[in-house]
Subunit: 410 residues, 2 copies
């Protein structure tokens, strides 16, 4: 949608309201609403992620085979993941710098290392926090938040090269990009557009992060972009501490108060001195206790319908990563899966009606069951056939064909 549509651009001229969404209206808290025993949280090894385990065969031969094709088997997600892969080479000045012979051979324009001198006017952390947010919004981000980089958010090893990761940046900037409301209203959660929705957000947040990191380095401060094709950090704890959402029933997912789970994120880590945001509390822990729509709808039964458990220092709903990965990689009737995104009552367009409902869900606990009931009644968990614009296509043996179940909604 054209950015010129936004009627709220005037808010962005107010020094206390840099965000297009009314983040200023949310309750801020000292610690995330998910209990975290900081001392108990272990850094993760990216090689142990569900996708990586599927790729190396831990989840069986079928998923290992499917892993190489589950994104490119649809031509649009294939095009998007290819271009996201390009951006994996431009996260900092090492890759792509003139000192990098492979990049030099490719004739790529060099990224710059952090400038030797700090730019004048970059000394005030509060002013720089506002400036970095405004810059990210100018670069077409949908939501931005800042936190100190939690040490446990840094992976121990990266999956690309298997090397130990040493990332000592002090701050992290979370950058969210919407997966497109209209497409979300048209899909059933696990059909042929699902991976493309993920990668339109992955690729656009990646591009913003690459530009923003290069900008910060030019201002004289180290900075690195982290995105779907080159992470050194786990994203959820960063979004949580940066006030971009609360942990939700879906599991390892942070839910934004105005986008729901309908986004993907990239991150910039940096040493630029910058004020941080506080975590937010919009009542989601109570809401998710009552709702359970994602648990009911999950095609792989990966989302619990019971209570929270403590895992790796977090007291939260724990999804079954193997089942979730198995569904997304192995889905035979679509490419990927975002059924939890589809059915979540928080994924809505930002219209006056939905803003009013959103306010009610955030502020009136007693009205939450009514909102959940109304969501069912209005059929938001169903695909809207008028909003289906994509082609159901599957690449099999190098040739695109109409998949067997095309058009059938289950």
């Amino acid at each position: 949608m054209p950015r010129a549509f936004a009627s709220d651009w005037r808010d962005r001229c107010r020094s206390d309201r840099p965000d297009p969404f009314p983040m200023h209206a949310l309750k801020r808290v000292e610690r995330p609403t998910t209990r975290i025993e900081d001392a108990l949280v272990q850094r993760k090894d990216e090689r142990e992620s569900g996708f990586n385990r599927a790729g190396r065969g831990d989840l069986g031969e079928r998923l290992q085979r499917e892993f190489t094709r589950f994104v490119p088997k649809h031509p649009l997600s294939g095009a998007l993941v290819t271009m996201t892969g390009v951006l994996g080479h431009f996260v900092d000045a090492r890759a792509g710098s003139s000192e990098d012979p492979s990049a030099r051979a490719g004739g790529m324009p060099p990224l710059r290392p952090a400038a030797e001198h700090k730019a004048p006017g970059t000394e005030d952390p509060a002013a720089m926090a506002r400036h970095i947010k405004e810059t990210a919004y100018f670069l077409r981000a949908d939501a931005v938040g800042i936190c100190e980089l939690p040490p446990y958010a840094v992976y121990t090893h990266g999956k690309l090269d298997g090397q130990p990761i040493d990332l000592a940046h002090k701050y992290a900037i979370g950058i969210l990009v919407d997966q497109d409301w209209r497409t979300a209203s048209g899909f059933n959660g696990h059909d042929w557009i699902s991976n493309a929705m993920s990668f339109v957000s992955y690729s656009n947040s990646a591009f913003i992060a690459c530009v923003l990191a290069e900008y910060i380095r030019r201002l004289g401060y180290p900075a690195r972009a982290h995105h779907a094709r080159n992470y050194q950090v786990a994203v959820p704890p960063i979004l949580l501490w940066a006030g971009l959402g609360e942990m939700c029933r879906i599991g390892d997912i942070v839910l934004h108060p105005f986008l729901g789970p309908r986004f993907k994120a990239a991150v910039v880590t940096t040493d630029l001195p910058i004020s941080i945001d506080k975590p937010i509390d919009f009542g989601l822990q109570d809401f998710c206790t009552k709702c359970k729509k994602c648990a009911k709808a999950c095609p792989s039964k990966a989302i619990p319908d019971g209570g929270k458990e403590t895992y790796n220092g977090y007291e939260r709903w724990c999804a079954d990563a193997e089942r979730c990965t198995g569904m997304r990689v192995g889905n035979q009737n679509g490419s990927g899966c975002g059924t939890c995104v589809k059915v979540c009552p928080w994924s809505k367009p930002f219209t006056p009606f939905h803003r009013a409902v959103n306010w009610t869900m955030r502020n009136i606990p007693a009205a939450r069951r009514l909102a959940i009931w109304g969501d069912d009644l209005l059929g938001y968990d169903k695909p809207n056939p008028d909003a289906k614009w994509w082609l159901d296509l599957e690449e099999v043996d190098g040739k695109l064909q109409v998949p067997g179940k095309s058009g059938k909604r289950d």
Copy 2:
């Protein structure tokens, strides 16, 4: 601005209205409102563009020197042009393919040549036109239009390698990205954010074009992206024939009815059979005859305040390219220049008030002078200080400094 803000997403579910802007409401015409003697239009040599002439010294030593720094002298436009440069290597399957040794050396994911087999369901040109537009909007384009590729829009030679260009694709898809209304309301037209505004649109439209071309190739049809860092076509005639705007007083510029001149564009050329749009007539030839704001405001006096002339087969207002280039490249009080974008009454946000004024300007010729007068009265040609979010910075001898005239509005 978040795309979820758009209240008009429902229109995009109507088969006759794929566009977020109400393009369906515009008068369509058989030929552009600018008279074109097709047989007289000569193909251009990209090496003879104003910027290229400045770069090789035709416009003097000072501009030749400034040419290497006029974009990267500000750190944000510098970061943006660097990442746009990356995308210049990914316009089609030749650059970046596994057959390309330089790309292979860089470890880049290969782009694909057109698939051997055409995808099923891609045979209906009208359906594919709608589908390609919806895909581009999903990829976050702000406006999209389709035309047959006018042979005279193809450059004779490219500036990158100086080789003769042989591009025989039948169709061209124009992709517009907004330069950000809020930033436009804050700048004076030729200060330090001007080039960043250009390149946020260049880079984002480039990314969309690269993904869209790769998608079309996967569907089984040749396609090439054309963008600010790798063109084989001149953009204005394509936008004109694709119904994305009319030629305006600014000169070699197509003005969109809802964005004004506040955009940059990329193009995908292809042989995918696809229905074309018709040119539009929203009264701009009369409006520009009356308005003349851009001519009055142009710091380099490059825009004529008189009538049209015939040049290269087009009867249009002819700007002085050398003066315009000299201002943009040589600007000592900013980076680049978009003063004509700043003062144009058609560059507005898409709010109910401005939609109403826009309708009046399009449909009631007698009200145009009133609209022009009101635009002055409301001060839209002045920078709104509350909307200035960027840092005034200039790189001199490898070090960022606050430019001498920083903050002074002239």
